[in-house]
Amino acid sequence: MGKVVLVTGVARPLGARFAGRIAGQPGVDRVVGVDAAPPPSDLPPGVRYAQVDPRRPAVARVIAEHGVDTVVHLNVTALGHGGRAAVKESNVIGSMQLLGACQQAPGVRRLVVKSTTAVYGSAPRDPAVFGERTQPKALPPGGFARDAAEVEGYVRGFARRRPDVDVTVLRFANILGPDGDTPLAAYFRLPVLPTAFGHDPRLQFVHEDDALEVLRLAALGAAPGTYNVAGDGVLLLSQCARRLGRPTVPLLRPALGLVGRLARQLSAPADRAFSQEQLQLLTHGRVVDTAQLRDRFGYAPRWTTAEAFADFVAHTSAGPLPPERLTAVTDRVAARLAGMPGDHHPTPHQETRPR
């Protein structure tokens, strides 16, 4: 008898894609997707959908009915329906209900929780690279990061009470993909990027394909534990802006906070771009160490941070200052110089054009 996998948060693209991917795996008998609202498009074949309000204990019935043994909790999210209070309730209360239901279900053997590297916070007095065991100096002040930190606390409690369940917590760096439905993607789609003056944060991305693959391995039996998941390497915000071809507007930090507060009054997607923790990230940046993911979990991300970002750029409308146009100017001057008499030097290195 194969596995029965419960996936929460299937109404969002990542959840739906993951459910579809796991449904096709050998050894998986059934995939049950739950969410508060029906998914906008049909779920992939092989995925059953059950509408469950995460804040109610109804999920216990779904677990019992289908004999679920693997729970993949993707419903801790920065975005959601309703205001911040509703999102927080769905994140925290929803996770508590789910963990409570799992604790009562003797059949559950494996729990995978999608978390975020935002639980480390971003502060100038933190180490430059966070390992899984780094204790954050303080709990994140609020928002999604705080939710994730609280959910991780409940998950640790659950792991103590049910030592027979393999618990894996995956702390993802900012996930980017072709359609990138995240607050950071919303920020990068702004025509000009407001930045914090005097700060050039280091950012790390993980490609959606890698995120799905890590979730799949975690659900199907990789070594349990807590892992940072991020692509190799680092991009500075200024590099990101230039690769996107979008100009930056450096603002003093208080002014940037004000812009954020104004933007949150607007409608989507502008309101998503400036959440509290995102402003922290865009000021101080965050980099995590992924040695555990490689060594213990046994997965090396296929996309580096720069490649994941390039894929996002390729699927995003070009900004007002596309890199091609800028390089065309420098290349033209260089070409003229190279054509001078008495010039014994080869043309300047002609590297491949940025993707």
């Binding site: 430059a128 003056f197 200024s238 070409a335 003229r336 110089l337 001078m340 940025p354």
Partner: protein, 334 residues
């Protein structure tokens, strides 16, 4: 490039833009930027070329081409930084190039003992701190790069990473926060790590206490070196103490601004911005013999007595070298 060497009339030397390998612009109509680029390139290739050679010296074309390549990578974000935000190219081409005249011409630094810095692998350089603003650290970075061909990764005070602009520059120059995690990660990656364990106590001490080493923190740097099993190279810097002789301290103002001190020197604040010019003292940077740490047992870093003893050994070495160098010194401005 045979066509380029033909001494023909200037118009014939222009390479058609379409043949430049990376030109496949989507816009066939030349924009303003293109026209500027065209005229600039043509002007330099044409009548102004000879003038430029006279003014800028031979080989300016190559420098300009390199500069353009640099500009191109900067404009498109096509360069790499490491996990700590260290931007190697920017550091080599800009930061070190700006600091080098200060090191070579202004302070005329005599760098000694660079053979003690290994050509590869992790090493911890421990130095004395002085001079009100951390010029000594920046000069050591230049010395390590120019004489040992390594990049010095400094551990800096948290104040550096709180200040806007300063934190950005510090990260890009390869520095990071002085904490055990970062120090150990850098050492294990085989970097040259620099630490000034006296911290603000050393850099902000009154002029009367010059060349008297202050307390060496809690010995955290020794523990990091022990864990990573890398040698410790003591480094003694003479000359930095006299750049800004600190004869007083605006304690109240410092507390108001949240700074460790606000110095009073013979020229600051009396001469205003002119007071910020350091005195042109003659410097010596002496790297001492490495103190190996790989012979200690694995958990040596957890042994406080051993850590304190090693810390003292490093401190004594630096202090004695300072005295020796001071005796040899003929004049502060020598």
């Amino acid at each position: 490039m045979t066509a380029a060497r033909e001494p023909a009339d200037p118009a014939a030397k222009v390479i058609p833009i379409e043949s430049a390998p990376s030109w496949n612009g989507p816009d066939p109509r030349p924009g303003l930027a293109d026209r500027i680029a065209d005229s600039l390139g043509t002007a330099l290739a044409g009548q102004f070329g000879a003038a430029a050679t006279r003014v800028l010296g031979k080989g300016w074309e190559e420098r300009a081409t390199n500069g353009l390549g640099f500009l191109r990578r900067r404009l498109t974000g096509d360069y790499e930084v490491d996990d700590f935000g260290f931007d190697r190219e920017l550091t080599e081409e800009v930061f070190l190039a700006l600091l080098r005249p200060l090191a070579e011409k202004y302070f005329r630094i005599d760098v000694r003992g660079t053979e003690h810095i290994p050509a590869e692998g992790g090493v911890l350089i421990v130095a004395n701190h002085s001079g009100t603003i951390p010029l000594d650290a920046l000069m050591t970075q230049v010395a390590v790069h120019d004489h040992a061909d390594r990049h010095l990764r400094m551990l800096a005070a948290d104040l550096v990473f709180v200040l806007p602009v300063v934190n950005e520059l510090a990260r890009k120059a390869g520095h990071t926060l002085a904490c055990n995690e970062d120090a150990q990660t850098l050492l294990e990656r085989g970097e040259v790590v620099g630490v000034w364990p006296e911290g603000f106590k050393g850099i902000g001490k009154p002029f009367a206490d010059r060349y008297k080493l202050q307390r060496f923190g809690r010995g955290g740097f020794v523990a990091s070196a022990l864990r990573a099993g890398v040698p410790i190279v003591p480094c003694s810097i003479v000359g930095a103490e006299e750049t800004y002789p600190m004869i007083g301290n605006f304690k109240t103002l410092a507390r108001l601004l949240g700074l460790p001190y606000v110095p009073i020197t013979p020229t600051f604040p009396w001469l205003g911005p002119l007071g910020a010019i350091p005195l042109p003292t003659k410097w010596t940077i002496q790297f001492g013999e490495p103190i190996p740490t790989d012979s200690y047992p694995k958990d040596a870093a957890e042994d406080p007595m051993l850590v304190f003893n090693l810390t003292d050994q490093v401190r004594e070495t630096i202090q004695h070298t300072l005295y020796k160098l001071l005796v040899q010194r003929r004049s502060v401005f020598g």
